[in-house]
């Protein structure tokens, strides 16, 4: 979560709870609600490595809050982040290893494995459709996130179909 937090701070100083809300608002319901504790831990690590600096601000009725700002080193780190291209997503290798080894172990039937996995993907797809339906229509970023997840799942389902074709083709 380090770099997304840095990126949020590029716009201006903010405290931990604001960053949590910014992330939620940006990414919508498909994004797992960030754990505020995790955000504070990450922020203090970023501070230790000199990428951000914090300043305690006194509050009258509540404990002090800490406002973080990006340092020059943090700015550099963000630029480097944008320079890099991201790794492509990996094939669901755990399922594939199960499938590949099913015959060796004699413990599972390949077609049953495929069917179970398909049901899981379809259920997830259904959940995503519902999320898309519930998401604010104007939040384009959140909709793109959900659509991306759906297209990945579609590819996984197509791939299951290919596995099935190969393993259960006409005798």
């Amino acid at each position: 979560m380090r770099l997304p937090l840095l990126a949020l701070l590029a716009r201006g100083p903010a405290h931990g709870y604001e960053l949590k809300q910014d992330l939620e608002q940006l990414l919508g319901a498909a994004y797992p609600q960030p754990n505020v504790g995790q955000i504070y831990v990450t922020l203090s690590r970023l501070e230790k490595s000199g990428l951000i600096e914090g300043e305690e601000v006194a509050q009258s009725t509540r404990p002090n809050k800490k406002i973080y700002r990006l340092t020059d080193a943090g700015h550099e780190a963000l630029l480097a982040w944008y320079e890099d291209t991201a790794d492509e997503p990996r094939v669901r290798d755990e399922f594939f290893m199960k499938l590949a080894l099913a015959q060796h172990t004699g413990l599972a039937d390949q077609v049953t494995l495929i069917n179970k996995q398909r049901r899981q993907y379809l259920n997830t797809m259904r959940g995503l459709s519902k999320l898309a339906g519930a998401e604010n229509r104007d939040n384009r970023i959140a909709h793109l996130l959900i659509e991306g997840a759906m297209l990945h799942l579609q590819a996984d389902l197509d791939w299951l179909e290919r596995c099935q074709e190969e393993l259960e083709g006409p005798e």
């Binding site: 994004y31 797992p32 049901r119 259904r126 959940g127 459709s129 898309a132 659509e147 997840a149």
Partner: protein, 256 residues
């Protein structure tokens, strides 16, 4: 499967297929499109049939709607065998009890949107006044109010498919058959079709949908995988949406 508890008598099947077989003979080797299919659809159920292209799923849908006849096996509608149905009887049935939408909309190109939707109602003996009222209601529901006078060619693909949906539903059929209804639409049109099918389903419409698109299929209560002319898997999907903080939490995973 979600069998009803034993004390609760199962509702009568809206549609039942028994041992359907269909082989296409043309140039080259015969194509065994449907090789023994049993299928039951209950009132209000939304069933998706998915599978690779060429698996025979469109043929299956055509058999269910009487657009093609099986080589063997039977289709039952509301507990009645259609074995002895004439073409005319099937046509009447499709007008009153089964609505169908296709990938390429199949609207009558020289009739206005309003006439395309009202025609099947008038053919089924509805009064002009009532046909018009039904048409207005459906077009409004489908976001097409104001397009009544347009000709199909003036509409986008997504709009044409919505007109086709209105036409299919104008006589309040118990069953809607949809054959790749988003197959020629873009991503936005696809989302719109997903949304509309779900909405009609929530209103109690039974739907059998054939698609290779899992996004579309996932709107259904039940997804049947069709492969090489046979049903290879029949899965009831769970109805509970994922929790906000779990289940699909790896949609986007922040590392580190």
């Amino acid at each position: 499967m979600n069998a009803s508890p034993p004390t609760d008598p199962a509702p009568p099947a809206l549609l039942r297929a028994d041992g359907l077989v269909k082989t296409h003979y043309g140039e080259g080797a015969p194509v065994h499109a449907v090789r023994g299919v049993d299928l039951t659809v209950r009132p209000g159920e939304f069933v998706a049939i998915t599978g690779p292209s060429g698996a025979g799923k469109s043929t299956l849908l055509h058999l269910l709607g009487g657009l093609q006849r099986p080589d063997s096996g039977s289709v039952w509608l509301d507990g009645e065998s259609t074995d002895s149905y004439s073409e005319a009887r099937w046509a009447t049935t499709r007008r009153r009890s089964i609505g169908i939408v296709f990938q390429f909309f199949n609207l009558v190109s020289n009739l206005s949107v309003a006439d395309n939707v009202e025609l099947p109602a008038l053919l089924a003996g509805t009064t002009a006044k009532q046909a018009r009222a039904e048409r207005e209601k459906l077009l409004a529901e489908l976001g097409l109010a104001g397009k009544e006078r347009s000709m199909p060619g003036e509409l986008s693909g997504g709009e044409q498919q919505r007109v086709a949906l209105a036409r299919a539903l104008v006589n309040g059929p118990g069953l809607l058959l949809a054959d790749e209804p988003a197959g020629s639409l873009d991503s936005k049109g696809t989302r719109e079709v997903i949304r509309l099918l779900s909405r009609f389903h929530q209103q109690g419409q039974a739907i059998v949908l054939v698609t290779h698109d899992a996004r579309l299929a996932s709107g259904a209560d039940r997804v049947i995988s069709f492969f090489d002319g046979r049903i290879v898997h029949d899965a009831e999907l769970g109805g509970t949406p994922p929790r906000r903080d779990a289940g699909i939490s790896d949609v986007l995973e922040l590392t580190d």
